[in-house]
């Protein structure tokens, strides 16, 4: 058992591009759910639309990646509009179920055979991010220490994504401390009160849905760039649940919650996985836990457990403020 390796693997995941991408997803959710109270269970749908907006522009239509990125973001905004117009007037539980259903519809359609000409169907689309790696200023090589190492391309994606995370965090700070952000919070606390003060609640919700959805779309764009490919299988609803776990872990309706949550989430997930794999290798695990499938399953069980326990005993997250977000209400 090598604890340096476990710690290193955890750290590598916690600062890696995947953690940054999930932080972006959680930032979008933070605006939706943390600040506006919209229970969006289809955040992965925005991610999918962003990724495929980019991938289709580049791989199917043969246009530039630099055009594909705004296409992906606009597609996410369009999805927010299409999703929001019918559902934002409905009750919160209807909104939740519709968003998850739409995300699942998108995944099924994208990977279906009739869509294969456009989306590559079950095979997905590849080779979409060469221009991004062409402008990589980092010389070839491996960077880092111990097991915490990154290739020059991974480091490049990682740096760009974390910069985007910081920019989006800054954007959210500005937005939520503005009068506009205060209206969002008043909608979260009491929709009728906001309406009685003459605020157009549906319009405010729609604006929040679009901005948060575009941040989710940006996460999808970076996810597609990271692997230089898009495959529908990556966009299952568990991604949304992971993003919620991250947000609740770090503290919903807090500025740094998504970043802290993503860091802790990936550190723990990868650390546990590394620990279990080592334990598996040393033969310490009971029979029913052996094998890679079971190790992956244990991670999911831990996520489920963390989600359930956190929301009961510490709904404000590790660093959150209990008075800011009162879920009990």
């Amino acid at each position: 058992m090598d604890f340096d390796v476990i710690f290193g693997n955890g750290l590598r995941a916690a600062i890696g591009p995947e953690a940054a991408i999930f932080a972006l997803l959680a930032i979008g959710l933070n605006l939706h759910w943390g600040y506006t109270g919209l229970l969006n269970l289809g955040q992965v749908g925005f991610m999918l639309v962003g990724a495929y907006g980019l991938a289709i522009t580049v791989a199917t239509w043969g246009w530039s990646m630099w055009l594909g990125i705004p296409v992906g973001l606009l597609a996410a905004a369009a999805l927010a509009l299409v999703l929001g117009i019918p559902t934002l007037r409905l009750r919160a539980d209807y909104f939740a179920i519709t968003t998850i259903a739409v995300a699942e519809i998108l995944r099924l359609v994208v990977r279906s055979r009739p869509a294969q000409g456009l989306t590559g169907g079950a095979f997905g689309l590849q080779g979409i991010a060469e221009p991004f790696y062409d402008i990589n200023p980092i010389p070839r090589g491996t960077y880092g220490f111990g097991v915490v190492t990154f290739s020059e391309n991974r480091l490049w994606v990682m740096l760009v994504t974390w910069v985007l995370v910081l920019l989006c965090t800054g954007l959210l700070v500005l937005l939520t401390s503005s009068p506009w952000g205060r209206v969002l919070r008043s909608i979260r606390e009491d929709e009728d009160a906001a309406r009685s003060l003459g605020k157009n609640v549906v319009a405010f919700k729609m604006q929040a849905l679009i901005i948060g959805g575009m941040i989710g779309g940006l996460a999808g764009v970076m996810f597609a760039i990271r692997a230089s490919s898009a495959n529908a299988e990556s966009y299952r609803s568990t991604v949304t649940f992971f993003a919620y776990t991250i947000l609740i872990l770090g503290g919903a309706a807090t500025r740094l919650g998504p970043i802290i949550g993503a860091f802790i989430f990936w550190f723990v997930i990868s650390g546990v996985e590394s620990f279990l794999r080592q334990a598996d290798g040393e033969g310490w695990l009971p029979g029913f836990l052996q094998g890679t499938e079971a190790v992956g399953a244990v991670t999911f069980i831990l996520v489920g457990l963390a989600l359930a326990l956190l929301i009961v005993f510490r709904p404000q997250g590790i660093f959150g403020n209990r008075n800011e977000l009162r879920l009990e209400a």
Partner: protein, 436 residues
């Protein structure tokens, strides 16, 4: 796409099971050598050779997809008529021949036998035989026959969804909780029945199923007493409870994955059945029995809700918790009964679904969104709404396959739900004109 017929599937399943003793039993004079491996050695695959009257048939597309209609591979037969689709994950798949790509004058001897569902085992190829030659019989079914067949399939599927969704709807109505872990109750029922039937004591499926339903009902009751009631007493918000169900669903599902494994498995009983031809519809006795039982159970639930004290109390609590409490109904007891009955009904749905298709660790999760669609279509919070909605969802799912690719059938069901939300958010039997 041609309608897949369960009968031919089962016959082919028998062929697949008897392989390699069956060589050229199906079709004309096929020089099939089942032991030939055209793919890389040690890699599981589907393979076969397409010949007509001894001549290889080239350029015919063969597709392999999962039982949910997700494509895993497609290939064209080569100049020697051979085709091979490597499979990464062993399991049960659907193999389809694209009849549009057949050369002129070449048809399947059985026009319905375009699709086979068979297992592929680790490390070796499974041979699938498509018999080419002169078409025999009347050829493809006409539109009306296909409609009749899809309606039957849809009803079969819809009755199961309806049964499983009753609990979801009643739990919501009595406690306000959207139970995201309801799909896992379906899986749990199927997996426990599988364990008792095929792995552990090897009891007949009927006994294993009944026991599994009892265990799942008990599990639902235990969940209510140990998790939900204490949390309600703590005044934990509905949103928090909802997030807990998401966590619970992740936990149960992956415990089942560890216990059951990632593959699809079937029950030992009622596996291979001969199709009955009832007019334009063909159905196995097993599926017919399942449909009859499901209908009977739904009628039973409706009778209980309508006639018994407990049923009336349940409807009262579903309608208005405070008023029921004020009029002396033991609300906590009603909720407990709803949890037990709801979990048991979900388990029955899971066992039936496992008998019709197969058992796997995600079967309930895949059903969950359809159950939500059913509940919302029919009217959130009403038991009868869940029944009506479930049957509609089942019908939409299957009838859409007549003119749309079957890969998209779930999209149609979910699309129907979204459409219903736009037109009539309270659902068909929603509060405005609620029965009872």
């Amino acid at each position: 796409m041609q309608q897949s017929r369960l009968g031919s599937v089962l016959i082919l399943l028998a062929v697949a099971l008897l392989w390699p003793t069956v060589g050229s039993a199906v079709g004309g004079d096929e020089p099939e050598t089942p032991t030939t491996t055209t793919g890389a050695a040690g890699v599981q695959a589907y393979e076969g050779t397409l010949t007509e009257a001894g001549e290889p048939v080239e350029g015919v597309t063969i597709r392999v997809e999962t039982l949910e209609g997700e494509e895993v591979g497609a290939v064209e037969s080569g100049a020697d008529g051979r085709w091979n689709v490597p499979i990464t994950v062993p399991g049960r798949y659907r193999v389809t021949i694209d009849t549009d790509t057949l050369p002129d004058g070449v048809d399947l001897t059985d026009a319905d036998a375009t699709t086979f569902e068979t297992d592929v085992f680790p490390g070796r190829p499974t041979v699938v035989l498509f018999a080419l030659g002169e078409a025999v019989g009347t050829g493809g079914p006409n539109d009306l026959e296909r409609l009749a067949q899809s309606t039957t399939n849809g009803l079969k599927f819809g009755l199961i969804i309806a049964m499983a969704a009753i609990g979801l709807s009643l739990i919501f109505a009595t406690t306000g909780l959207i139970n995201f872990a309801h799909g896992e109750l379906v899986t749990l029922g199927a997996v426990i029945a599988w364990f008792l039937n095929a792995r552990g004591p090897r009891w007949p499926l009927v006994i294993a199923g009944l026991l599994s339903v009892a265990i799942c009902g008990l599990f639902g009751g235990v969940l209510e007493r140990t998790v939900w009631r204490p949390l309600r007493a703590r005044q934990v918000g509905l949103f928090q409870l909802f997030v807990i169900t998401i966590g619970l669903s992740l936990i149960i599902r992956h415990v089942l994955l560890i216990w059951f494994g990632g593959q699809r498995r079937g029950y030992l009983d009622y596996r291979i059945q001969t199709q009955w031809e009832l007019g334009p519809v063909s159905i196995t006795p097993r599926d017919l029995a399942i449909m009859a039982l499901s209908a009977l159970i739904l009628v039973g639930v409706a009778t209980i809700l309508q006639r018994t004290r407990m049923g009336k109390a349940t409807r009262a609590v579903a309608d208005n918790v405070d008023l029921s409490e004020a009029s002396g109904i033991d609300v906590q007891r009603v909720i407990l009964v709803v949890w037990i009955a709801g979990a048991a009904l979900a388990a029955i749905g899971g066992i039936f679904l496992g008998a019709i298709e197969s058992v796997d660790w995600q079967m309930g999760t895949r059903l969950l969104l359809l159950m939500f669609a059913a509940v919302i279509l029919g009217g959130l919070g009403t038991a009868y709404g869940a029944m009506v909605g479930g049957i509609i969802v089942g019908l939409v799912t299957e009838i859409s396959t007549i003119w749309a690719p079957s890969a998209l059938k779930l999209v149609f069901a979910l699309g129907a739900m979204v459409l219903a939300l736009l037109v009539r958010p309270q659902g068909i039997l929603g509060r405005a004109e609620r029965i009872g």
